[in-house]
Amino acid sequence: MSGETGTLHEYVTAQIGGQLIGLPILRVQDVFIPEGLTRVPLAPREIAGVLNLRGRIVTVIDMRRRLGLSAEGAAEAPLAIGVELRGESYGLLIDAIGEVLKLDPDAREPNPLNLDPRLARVSTGIHRLNEQLLMIVDVDRILDIAVDSMAA
């Protein structure tokens, strides 16, 4: 199985804090409704908590905080994109799930120089769509929550 159709890359798109983001489809396990979220005291701010998804403990990432986006317009019933890293399950909180897009990697543009550093560190480039800009994010970098931010 490959995420590429010919030379096109497939992305799962999602809305978070007014921003459209795209994740490589191969990294996405599933999309679920985060229920029964348990907050974890003393955890890094970016971690919304943990929950039980079919017997697995999933660490849920607050993407708003992770990307430094405003808390406004948060969905009442958020969704989570399930991803895995080194055998552990994570859920990325999003406002709404979008369609799967096939995009030509050559059309991807590098991050603008003035991109907010919190976005720049997880973004691998921008696609210009008709309506809006799609930011391609790197799952590993999203999950690379540094210890230094944990002290906060």
Partner: protein
């Protein structure tokens, strides 16, 4: 890998482990033919299988080793060199097997070095006489023909056949559980045909499934709880029971005798003996004690490390031992036994003991403590520095144990699995390390509690008891500045609210809630929670790697209702509480008759200010309560300040004239009670509670002061409570005096702490006794020897050199001391200590600060003495 090959590797590895152990045993007991026959048979089997599978390197090695062992079998005494050579060969075989397992074929390379050595030695040892024939053999021998000439040192097939038949397949006798090396192996060899081999992976999967089943069962039970009258109730109960049994059964399959972790140790000790030029006997007791294989894996390395440490640092060379009047052979004893849900493992040597001076020096150079701090620490506390990170006392780095990792690594490993480690050392007698480790890590019983609106699990193993605290109850949370403490029976426990530790506290009153009294190692403390639900068997799941740094949690779990909750790590809480206000449970030390003087002489002191800016202190245990009252409620009666307190008038006393009774605002008080009477000392400010060693360095000049001591680096006046009590009630002591005999009875007070001598002497005098106080058991005996009149002896139990128990025993042997009433005084009030006191002949046993109890006991004993 080919199944046959895999089977071969597994089996051969097991055989080799046996060979390792057996060879070491054989070397110690060369006369035991059954051992060498057994070894010979195993090596021969390996050789045969190698030939069959086409593994020439292994075959050649096994063959050469077998040839040399043949010599031993023929009665040639085993030399240490020969055994070393064979062991080296076995190591090489293991290496090749390792490679075989990964690469599926023998690695390239030759073994001529070993083979030549083995062959030469075999030839050199060739006895002139032919090998003695086994006494009898079973079955008929078919003459076998080998289609090639015999290799040098090779036995003929007939000889081999004979050897085989002569070798009992089962060990000749099941050895009693003797503390000898090798006792470990007996069990495994016995049940060959009653066990099957199951891969660890299968067991792990089974365990995971059972864990899931337990979760589902819990979920169902949770639903069942909500529907009282459900028809599911009975089947649910049955399901629950079956699940519990299944869980137990699967756990059992994971259990392995600890002997498995010890298997390699005899060999290691033997190699160490050669390397270090020491003679060491390894004794193993309780090898059959079982524990979870996951835990077993985790303690293998720490155990090996501790053993190496004992052999390298602990035991002396034969010359040193001879000079010290000990047998030349050193001894390391490994023992294991079950204790509650724990397994206790002890590694003890009879070496030189820990060098406290060196540890001190090292702690200094490493900046772990200052000179002043060290001076205050007891031996036991100093010894604990060996667990500090990067600590190793060996001055030269040896290949044995000085590898930059030390006991700190051991302790880390043990900590990680929720175990504890302790050390005791007696100079010249030896060191013993005691590990206490939970039997299993996968499923634990936990107390589910609530804090800050969330639920948490506290492992039941750490929980000592639950206490309900609220304002009016017997157990109250009191606060001294920011330190919260719980007065629980005779102990003062530091407590902390869980929600605050976790940073989820809402502003709320502090004085109510449930206190989970928790013990970690020697520390006991209280965790205050908002609610306690129930206990549940929880399946421990590791924390997400993003959350693993949070010291307060050791994992998480899914509850019956499907929600995820965090499991509290009592170690983390203990660390967060800090060591300042932590009470050390000393009962463990008192329980152990052989305990090295591990008594901490720290005293909890209440620091306050009154009059001058210089801090003052009083032992916290003397204080009944701390109060802050509205100054307007203070009344003046007959020229004295009074306050209505709990339905009585309580006199207020100033330490000196410079302390003014406030007329408004809050007035802090220290309340002292004795029976129904209370008095309060007026102070300006309560500063803190500290735990420190109390050494009164300068005797008190003014009335009411015992003297000055350095507390937390500051000169602090220690007040004499005994001085102030009569100021409140002139007859405070006198009313007791009236009850004692006309002749003043002579009390001999024995206590190594000048503070207690100073504190108790006036109290006893006021109670109508003549008091002679001495600072050690030796002085006490000298006093009795000197023919002075002594009616009653009051002795502290924890004293250096000779403790209270020993003093009493000595007194009982003394012609003048046989009948002498002895009252033991101790901060340790455990059932065991009391029992021990009764055995050695204490007439009574009183907690150290229980002044009232002491007077009562004295009265009783002096009346008893008079009647007698």
């Amino acid at each position: 890998m080919d199944d046959l090959l895999r089977e071969f590797v597994t089996e051969t590895n097991e055989s080799l482990n046996v060979v390792d152990v057996e060879l070491v045993r054989f070397e110690q007991d060369p006369a035991n033919a059954s051992i060498i026959n057994n070894v010979f048979r195993l090596v021969h089997t390996i050789k045969g299988t190698c030939g069959f599978l086409g593994l020439p390197r292994l075959e050649a090695l096994a063959h050469a080793a077998e040839a040399l062992m043949g010599r031993f079998r023929d009665g040639v005494p085993a030399t240490s060199d020969a055994v070393t050579l064979i062991l080296a060969t076995i190591d090489r075989i293991k290496q090749i097997l390792d490679a075989l397992e990964h690469e599926q074929r023998e690695p390239a390379g030759g073994d001529d070095d070993l083979i030549t050595g083995l062959t030469h030695m075999a030839e050199a040892l060739d006895p002139k006489k032919p090998a003695p024939m086994p006494e009898r053999s079973v079955g008929t021998l078919v003459e076998q023909v080998l289609e090639r000439p015999l290799l040098p040192g090779e036995d003929s097939l007939d000889d081999l056949e004979r050897a085989f038949r002569a070798t009992p397949v089962d060990p000749p006798q099941r050895r009693a559980k003797s503390p000898l090396a090798g006792a470990v192996k007996d069990d495994d060899q016995k049940n060959g045909n009653q066990s099957i081999r199951v891969s660890v992976e299968t067991l792990e999967r089974l365990m995971t499934m059972v864990s899931e089943l337990v979760l589902t069962r819990n979920q169902l039970l949770e639903i069942g709880r909500r529907h009282e009258e459900s028809e599911f109730k009975t089947p649910l109960q049955r399901l629950s029971n079956v699940t519990a049994e299944l869980q137990e059964g699967v756990m059992k399959t994971r259990m392995q005798p600890i002997g498995n972790a010890w298997q390699k140790l005899p060999r290691i000790v033997r190699d160490l003996c050669n390397e270090l030029g020491k003679q060491i006997d390894l004794e193993m007791q309780g090898a059959e004690t079982e524990l979870d294989r996951q835990v077993l894996d985790l303690i293998k390395d720490p155990l090996t490390h501790m053993l190496r440490n004992s052999a390298d640092h602990g035991l002396e060379t034969p010359e040193e031992r001879r000079a010290a009047g000990k047998p030349e052979r050193g001894r390391i004893r490994l023992s294991a036994w079950h204790e509650g849900g724990f397994i206790v493992i002890q590694v003890a040597d009879d070496g030189r003991g820990l060098n406290t001076e060196r540890i001190k020096a090292k702690a200094l150079t490493q900046g772990l403590a200052t000179e002043a701090e060290l001076a205050k620490l007891g031996e036991a506390q100093i010894q604990k520095f060996i667990f500090a990170p990067g600590f190793s006392t060996a001055s030269a780095v040896t290949s044995i144990s000085g590898r930059g990792v030390g006991m700190d690594v051991v302790r880390n490993n043990i900590d990680q699995i929720g175990g504890t480690i302790d050390v005791r050392s007696v100079p010249g007698v030896g060191v013993s390390f005691t590990l206490k480790i939970p039997l299993t890590l996968a499923i634990v019983s936990a107390l589910i509690v609530e804090a800050g609106g969330d639920r948490f699990a506290i492992p039941q193993l750490a929980v000592v008891e639950l206490v309900r605290a609220h304002g009016g109850s017997e157990h109250r949370i009191e606060r001294i500045k920011d330190t919260a403490v719980l007065r629980l029976r005779d102990k003062l426990l530091p407590v902390a609210r869980l929600s605050r530790l976790l940073g989820v506290a809402a502003p709320e009153q502090f004085d109510t809630g449930f206190i989970v009294v928790t013990q970690v190692g020697a520390q006991t403390f209280g965790i205050v929670v908002d609610a306690v639900f129930h206990t549940e068997e929880i399946v421990v799941k590791p924390m997400s790697s993003k959350l693993r740094h949070i010291a307060m949690f050791c994992g998480n779990t899914i509850l019956g209702d499907g929600s995820v909750i965090m499991i509290i790590d009592p170690n983390g809480i203990a660390q967060a509480l800090g060591s300042t206000a932590t009470t050390q449970l000393q009962s463990a030390a008192a329980n152990d008759a052989n305990a090295v003087d591990a008594v901490e002489t720290n005293t909890s002191l209440l620091l306050f200010r009154a009059g001058s800016t210089q801090p003052k202190a009083v032992p916290l245990a003397l204080v009944t309560r701390l109060e802050e009252i509205d100054a307007r409620k203070i009344e003046l009666s007959n020229g004295r300040h009074m306050i209505q307190y709990r339905g009585q008038l309580m006199p207020l006393v100033s330490i000196d004239d410079s302390v003014k009774v406030r007329s408004e605002g809050a007035q802090p008080l220290l309340v002292f009670s004795d029976g129904t009477r209370s008095m309060a000392l007026i102070v300006d400010e309560i500063v803190d509670i500290v735990e420190d060693r109390l050494d009164i360095e300068v005797a008190g000049g003014s009335a009411g002061m015992l003297g000055s001591a350095i507390v937390k680096g500051q000169a602090t006046e220690i007040i004499d409570v005994g001085h102030f009590l009569p100021l409140a009630f002139e007859d405070w002591f006198r009313r007791k005096e009236q009850k004692v005999a006309a002749r003043r009875r002579a009390v001999l007070l024995v206590d190594d702490s000048p503070f207690f001598r100073n504190m108790l002497t006036p109290v006893l005098q006021a109670a109508g006794f003549d008091v002679v106080s001495v600072g050690s058991a030796a002085e006490a005996l000298a006093h009795v020897d000197g023919g002075r009149t002594v009616d009653i002896v009051i002795t502290d139990i924890e004293m250096p050199e000779m403790d209270g128990f020993a003093l009493t025993e000595a007194l009982r042997r003394h012609p003048r001391g046989v009948e002498l009433p002895v009252i033991g005084l101790s901060s340790i009030v455990s059932a065991e200590a009391i029992e021990r006191g009764r055995r050695v002949g204490f007439h009574d046993y009183v907690a150290k600060f229980d002044r009232q109890g002491l007077i009562a006991a004295l009265k009783e004993q002096s009346e008893f003495g008079r009647a007698a």
